[in-house]
């Protein structure tokens, strides 16, 4: 089971945080801080797996991370997930983001957090991997976005700007 998914910048600012287990807000923030601390001091050529930090279960849970340019993608998993599998999953996630946003960069993630959440929701549900086929995910996202757009065209006070 995946316990948490975090995306943050090289400076530790969170751009996405999704927890699949109930933690209080304070704990969530602490976990983000602790994760950044653990991950930022890693060299470039060491392995991508770490023991979990104090707050998130220590040796029962593992931290699997990938560093893309200015962003860290971190998945916290427990022992029921395959580390190498999750490692690949992160790659699939990033490639999906790339497809949805057309050459995704950090700013895309910053300004469209809700969209990133929507994509994530199609991939991971309740801490379990839902869909790994990139094209499938992209298709579904596109359809849902079209559905949203169609609601804009209903004449009303034009005030939803979700963009």
């Amino acid at each position: 089971m995946i316990k948490a998914i975090l995306i943050f910048s090289n400076q530790g600012k969170p751009w996405l945080s999704k927890f699949y287990q109930p933690y209080s807000e304070d704990t969530q923030q602490q976990i983000i801080g602790e994760t950044f601390h653990l991950v930022s001091k890693r060299d470039e050529n060491v392995c991508n797996f770490l023991e979990g930090g104090l707050l998130i279960g220590r040796s029962d849970n593992k931290l699997i991370y990938r560093h893309y340019a200015t962003l860290y993608f971190v998945f916290y998993v427990d022992s029921s997930e395959s580390e190498l599998g999750i490692f690949d999953l992160i790659q699939v996630f990033v490639e999906t983001l790339d497809k949805c946003f057309e050459n995704v960069c950090e700013l895309d993630l910053i300004f469209h957090v809700d969209k990133v959440h929507n994509i994530l929701v199609e991939m991971v549900m309740g801490g379990m991997v839902l869909e790994t086929n990139m094209n499938e995910i992209v298709t579904q996202i596109d359809t849902q976005n079209k559905l949203e757009k169609s609601e804009y065209l209903i004449p009303h006070f034009d005030n939803h700007d979700r963009e």
Binding site: P14, L16, S17, K18, Y20, P22, E25, Q28, Q29, D43, N45, V46, C47, N48, F49, L50, E51, S82, E83, L84, G85, F87, D88, L89, V92, I110, F111, V113, D114, H117, N118, V121, M125, G126, G127, M128, V129, L130, E131, T132, N133, N135, E136, Q140, T143, Q144, L147, E148, E151, H156, F157, N159, H160, D161, R162, E163
Partner: protein
């Protein structure tokens, strides 16, 4: 109001006020942009507070149009760490809206802001129920997703039926979500698992990989939770094997391809499920042997995905009842992984080798040198794994070589490792290396302050007992603390040793190493510096002062200097030091004739049960210090909880309860596994006063004290001369003890108990337990049965062996538990009427 002729003007007039007072809430994008311009945390906080206030007023307005936008902003602020609980109800309102846009953000908000600890979440139940039956599949999808993420047990119970319905739909988008939602429901409410069983019938027939994937997850969850389900689903093994085969053989399929391999995620999932199904089952394991071999040999390993599959295959092979050829193949694959350039691969290889080292020890030993090389890796995670694995591989043959490597590693490793290292090291050396004392000293020297405080007495004891090493030890320790007094345990041990063996140090007698030239004054300099140093604790200073005092009988030229030092500390502020100094002073002045006798060399200490080895035994799950635990002859194990009950019951300090049979499975900590591996070693530290014909215990032989006697006739003819006693007679249950004494070992008494039942109903689940005073040792063999038949038609026989080295009067407390006439019975009794011939 005359100024307004018609309603429309009035309306517009009023609206203008409204608009002036309430500007449209800013968009999320704007908010993010604004926040990013903040230069300090305080500025950011201010902006956020302002926006929160605006959002709150907007919520109060009950404005449907902007709610969506406001909640989106709230979620963003929540992610940054600001409180957003006032938005929870708004999320619910959004969920209840008709628009997909609203629902989308509403459900997202629910997942981020709500969890089952808030009462508010229950209000969602109805909305979710309606949405599960919505006409738009995406709305249904959202509902399933939210339920599967944060649904509480009540919600799951209410909505399980809907989920089950959706599990049977033909819409693959919904089916896969329903499958995962079902997993969540089962996790929250395990009783509902049965409900999903019919729906699982056709799950594996799906073509859609997404559905297949989630179905396998669902099946895995069900199998893990219930052994019945596991048995039921075993019949799916052929189908799973077929699917896997298709994936491997199918060639290039663009939709599922990841780096040249067809849907690796699904392959990994299926392999995992096969592992669970094949565990402990010969038939299933048989059925999967071929496909596992095929995957293992055919998978392309140049990319990570291939390795992920291979890794999973290896784990599966090791876990099921595979044939030995396959196992060897698996371990060789792991060995190959260890040589891979990719760190991740090395990491997972080390992890899996750690798991398999218990069962396939020899195969893993072959890769020992590679593992030891990994100790030198730069990566912290790899080093840690390699360290644990190295300890697991240490055995009597390779210990010297391994220890050298490990100690080299210790020198260069990070501080956070050192504590773990020390614990592992202690365990290893205590078990295996009673003779390999070198290592212990090395440890004390190099790990210094990471050794636990209570290890100091252990180390001192060990040093004392290794008489031939004294010179070497004191030299090494002296060198270690030269100039560096920061590591207190190390300094304490060093001070003690210098005090004891200072004469050896000065005379340069060391054989193991190049002896160093040091004068008595230099030694005293060191000890005095320890006394003065700011880094020394009071305890350390005490050690140093005593050491200086002891040297007065060992050194020849510097006695005056010692006298001076001691008298100075007679006025020390530290009360402990003061007292010591005054007493030592008195020793110089008034009792000089006794001084040399008092300060003599310490004799070899009897190994009492100290914290070190005993605590290690405790990691095995025993709750009492049990240095006397031994491996019993192979017989049925009894649960240790009974022994613990006995402990609780007796509670007395002078009685050492016996555990009828030692548990053979140990907890999963690395230390525990290590002990398991070497569990055959008799951990007893007590001096073996019973003469054992067996030599020093080797690793492969259990050496219970009395076992050595088994080859010789145990019982002598005098046995029939010892009267038997009725130890217990109550409620129809009678227990008789008959005695036999050993020919060869007069300290051993063998008691045979016979339990008989004179009532008209059988006594079932009969368990006999016994406890003896600390000076005795007891071994309880397996009973002949657990049923005492009624009307004295039969008896239960059980043998107890008692070791009584001090020939003390035998006393015993017994506890009996059994079921009789439908109720559980339990009784305690003390047996004091042992005939003198049984113990004298």
């Amino acid at each position: 109001m005359n100024g307004f002729g018609n309603k429309k003007c009035e309306y517009l007039y009023l609206m203008s006020f409204h608009i002036q007072r309430m500007p449209a809430p800013i968009r999320l994008r704007e908010l993010i942009r604004t926040i990013r311009t903040a230069r300090t945390q305080a500025e950011e906080r201010e902006m956020i507070q302002k926006e929160c206030a605006a959002i709150r007023s907007s919520f109060r307005e009950e404005d449907n149009t902007y709610r969506c936008r406001n909640v989106a902003k709230l979620l963003y602020m929540h992610m940054l760490g600001y409180p957003a609980h006032f938005g929870q109800l708004e999320c619910l309102k959004l969920i209840a809206s008709q628009k997909f846009t609203d629902k989308r953000i509403g459900y997202l908000g629910a997942m981020l802001l709500l969890d089952e600890r808030q009462d508010v979440h229950l209000l969602m139940t109805n909305c979710i129920k309606n949405d599960l039956n919505h006409s738009t599949q995406f709305v249904q999808g959202l509902a399933l997703c939210t339920l599967g993420c944060m649904g509480s047990s009540e919600m799951c119970r209410d909505l399980a039926g809907e989920v089950e319905k959706l599990l049977k739909t033909s819409n693959s988008y919904l089916r896969k979500k329903a499958a995962l939602c079902a997993v969540h429901v089962i996790r929250k409410v395990p009783e509902l698992m049965e409900m999903f069983l019919p729906a699982t019938k056709n799950l594996l027939n799906e073509k859609n990989h997404g559905v297949l994937h989630t179905s396998v997850v669902l099946l895995t969850e069900m199998c893990e939770r219930s052994p019945d389900m596991l048995a039921h689903f075993r019949k799916l093994v052929p189908q799973l094997v077929r699917i896997l085969k298709n994936l491997i053989m199918s060639g290039y399929s663009p939709e599922h391809d990841v780096s040249g391999i067809s849907d690796p995620f699904l392959q990994v999932r299926i392999l995992r499920l096969l592992r669970i199904l094949g565990r402990n089952d010969d038939d299933s394991s048989e059925a999967m042997n071929d496909i596992l071999a095929q995957v293992a040999t055919n998978t392309e390993t140049s990319k990570n995905v291939g390795n992920a599959i291979l890794y999973e295959t290896v784990l599966t092979i090791m876990d099921i009842k595979s044939e030995s050829g396959l196992r060897v193949l698996a371990i060789n694959i792991l060995g190959r992984f260890l040589l891979n350039n990719d760190k991740n691969i090395r990491y997972v290889a080390l992890t899996s080798l750690l798991k398999t080292v218990q069962t396939d020890h020899n195969a893993v030993q072959r890769h020992r040198s590679t593992i030891v090389d990994c100790l030198k890796d730069l990566d912290v995670s790899i080093k840690r794994r390699a360290m644990e694995l190295s300890f697991a591989l240490v055995n009597g043959n390779n210990i010297r070589g391994m220890m050298k490597e490990l100690l080299y590693f210790l020198d260069s490793c990070e501080p956070e490792f050192k504590a773990d290292f020390c614990l592992n090291f202690l365990i290893t050396t205590v078990i295996i290396a009673n003779t390999c004392f070198h290592c212990y000293v090395f440890l004390g020297v190099t790990a210094g302050s990471y050794v636990r405080d209570d290890a100091v007495p252990n180390l001192i004891q060990l040093i004392t007992n290794s008489v031939e090493m004294h010179a070497y030890t004191v030299q090494r320790l002296y060198k270690a603390i030269l100039g560096d007094y920061s590591q207190q345990p190390l300094v304490q041990v060093a001070a003690w040793c210098i005090g004891e063996y200072g004469d050896l140090l000065v005379s340069g007698q060391c054989e193991e190493e190049e002896p160093i030239q040091v004068t008595e004054d230099e030694v005293l300099d060191i000890l005095e510096s320890v006394l003065i140093s700011n880094m020394s604790t009071s305890v350390t200073r005490g050690y140093a002062l005593t050491a200086i005092m002891k040297l007065s009988t060992r050194f020849t030229c510097t006695v005056n200097r010692i006298k001076k030092v001691v008298s100075i500390y007679g006025s020390s502020i530290d009360v402990e030091l003061q007292q010591r100094a005054v007493e030592y002073n008195a020793l110089f002045k008034k009792y000089d004739h006794m001084r040399s006798a008092l300060l003599e060399r310490m004799p070899v200490m009897e190994k009492v049960t100290t914290n070190g080895p005993t605590e290690i035994v405790q990691t095995n799950g025993e709750t009492e210090p049990a240095p006397l635990e031994t491996k019993p002859p192979p017989s049925g194990p009894q649960p240790t909880s009974q022994a613990n009950d006995l402990l609780d019951l007796l509670g007395g300090n002078d009685i050492t309860p016996v555990i009828p049979t030692a548990p053979t499975s140990k907890p999963a900590s690395a230390g525990g596994e290590l002990l398991d591996l070497l569990g055959d070693i008799n951990l007893t530290g007590a001096p073996a006063t019973a003469p054992t014909p067996a030599p020093v215990p080797q690793i492969s032989q259990p050496s219970f004290l009395l076992d050595g006697l088994s080859s010789q006739p145990l019982f002598n003819d005098i046995a029939s001369g010892i009267p038997s006693i009725t130890a217990y007679s109550k409620n129809g249950l009678k227990i008789e003890f008959t005695f036999e004494r050993s020919n060869t070992n007069p300290s051993v008494t063998v008691i045979t108990i016979q339990a008989s039942n004179s009532t008209e109903l059988d006594m079932t689940d009969f368990v006999f337990q016994a406890a003896v005073p600390k000076t005795f040792q007891l071994q309880l063999l397996s009973p002949s049965s657990s049923i005492v038949p009624a009307f004295n038609t039969g008896t239960i026989t059980q043998v107890i062996k008692v070791l009584n080295p001090q020939k003390q009067q035998l006393r015993m407390r017994i506890k009996l538990t059994y079921n009789h006439k439908g109720s559980a019975m339990q009784d305690l009794a003390e047996v004091n009427n042992f005939p003198p011939q049984s113990w004298q």
